[in-house]
Symmetry: C2
């Protein structure tokens, strides 16, 4: 890579790294050039997705996992996705403070995504931020997401191994099912295992997972106490097991190919959307929008007509 | 309206109504014609959005609210959005059973959306289903969503009044903040108010809402026990208050205009996406996708080139 910022980022300059990600996130003029230059160097990072309901202890678990990886001198990037709130001006302090355990460590890069309050934008920005970390040689990236919505699921699709974090008795674990979390997990973690109801939650999860029938990878269910480090070794081992499974089955290559195909389709859509926005000012668009507002023409007919004559 | 299915649906035929919504949801050949015919008859339904974390008791609250509306002989449509699960083959039985309280009532139409497991699709289908109910003269529609993700937020944007349902001590109510729920609620309900911690949760919510500063509508915080009907009258009154506020301030008209403008933009995007899909089979697309897969050209450059020559 030749761009001075990329060279600096690769040499370990955190401010340069942060600037590259910001420039790409904000869609600055240099973004396309940066992406084009770093893209051929991607394809090596292993991405761990960490998701679950608010309050499940994802940040503490991430922090513990970072600690484990650092013991083996493995560098790691963390992308923390928090819907921002105008009430607090961004992420809740507690979690970020916990993350600060690793703030002085040159082998850990932590970035809070989504400070712009637009999850769709985060879903677009996250794969790009992963690519930047990938291109400069970060071996592992952890993507931590709050919640269970579609945008978060899309973000989790960036992950090679998805860890779903639950709590003992968390809405009876049936809620995890309801929220669609059972389908996306490669590993399940019942965190806060020092509280009552752990074995029941583990059992319920195992039963529900068994209902899914035979699969080449049956997600394990682990119990952790992230605050004390209990179960973190087992989690790290399970991640390694899942990685070896993906690699030996050829599933990792397939996943990554699919992901790039998705990224390409998204890029086409984003480019089309940008072109729609530039025409949104023109007269024909205004007339069509007025017809929709007066309820004389429905939105879909109006859209078809507009594009047919386009 | 002249289409036989629309005429039947308007006359109270539930099966005809269900068929119309299904045809539109599935994008059948007749869908554009149906939408075009019913669209001029829309703009009268009042939409109540009901959202919150899984397990908060949304379905029970919806059921209680239906009961209250039926006492005044008000007809109501309910669109329940549940991410489907291959583990259960759809919605969890419990909630649907609770809804069955109203199954025999001709003034209540309940539909479970999203059985196709694709929330993005639900986000597209829900406004259309509302339009169908609107066109046949349903005065109120309740949209009940699970979770707090972007797709759910988009669905809530279809609502005139958004009710956010929490529980006492639910992750300290700070979690509601974190999940971005504080910004979208017009009314807050602390449900399961027979459990400990109600007054603390109500107080915390009020404090956080006060941090938002002066606003023309300050969302009230109510306590309910949906299973016993406690607080439902107050909720119905608050919905009426919010409606009158929106009507008298001109906010309702503005909201609805904005919503149609959004719907129009989405229709344009959907039409463009459909056109991309039809070109996805062609040779130039295949070559570009291969370059992306080999990491010789980045997805965004490839997309721009493809569309420039298109």
């Amino acid at each position: 890579m030749q761009h001075p910022l990329l060279v600096s980022a690769q040499a370990g300059d955190r401010r340069a790294l942060a600037r590259v990600i910001s420039m790409i996130e904000d869609g600055r003029d240099e973004a396309p050039e940066l992406l084009a230059e770093l893209y051929p160097h991607t394809g090596h990072t292993y991405v761990i997705g960490l998701t679950g309901a608010p309050g499940a202890g994802k940040s503490t678990l991430t922090s513990a996992l970072i600690g484990r990886m650092r013991r083996d001198d493995i560098s790691v990037g963390v992308l923390a996705i928090d819907p921002s709130s105008p009430f607090t001006g961004g992420a809740i302090l507690g979690d970020r403070i916990r993350m600060q355990d690793h703030a002085g460590d040159a082998g850990v890069y932590i970035r809070s995504m989504g400070s712009r309050g637009h999850l769709g934008g985060v879903a677009e920005a996250t794969p790009k931020a992963i690519m930047v970390l990938d291109a400069i040689g970060t071996p592992y990236v952890i993507v931590e997401t709050v919640g269970v919505g579609q945008a978060e699921v899309e973000i989790v699709e960036s992950a090679d191994t998805t860890v779903v974090v639950l709590n003992p008795g968390w809405g009876d674990s049936i809620q995890a099912n309801k929220a669609g979390l059972l389908e996306i997990g490669d590993i399940f973690v019942v965190n806060k295992a020092d509280r009552p109801g752990v074995s029941e939650t583990v059992r319920d999860l195992n039963q529900m997972l068994d209902l899914g029938g035979e699969r080449p990878w049956r997600p394990p269910v682990l119990a952790t106490v992230a605050t004390s480090g209990e179960g973190i070794e087992e989690l790290w081992t399970a991640i390694g097991d899942h990685r070896r499974f993906l690699e030996s089955s050829g599933e990792l290559d397939r996943k990554r190919r699919d992901r790039l195909a998705t990224e390409f389709r998204r890029a086409i859509m984003a480019e089309l959307a940008a072109r729609v926005e530039t025409t949104a000012g023109d007269e024909r668009f205004g007339r069509a929008a007025a017809e929709v507002a007066e309820r004389t023409t429905d939105p879909w007919t109006a859209a078809r007509r507009l594009l047919d004559r386009g």
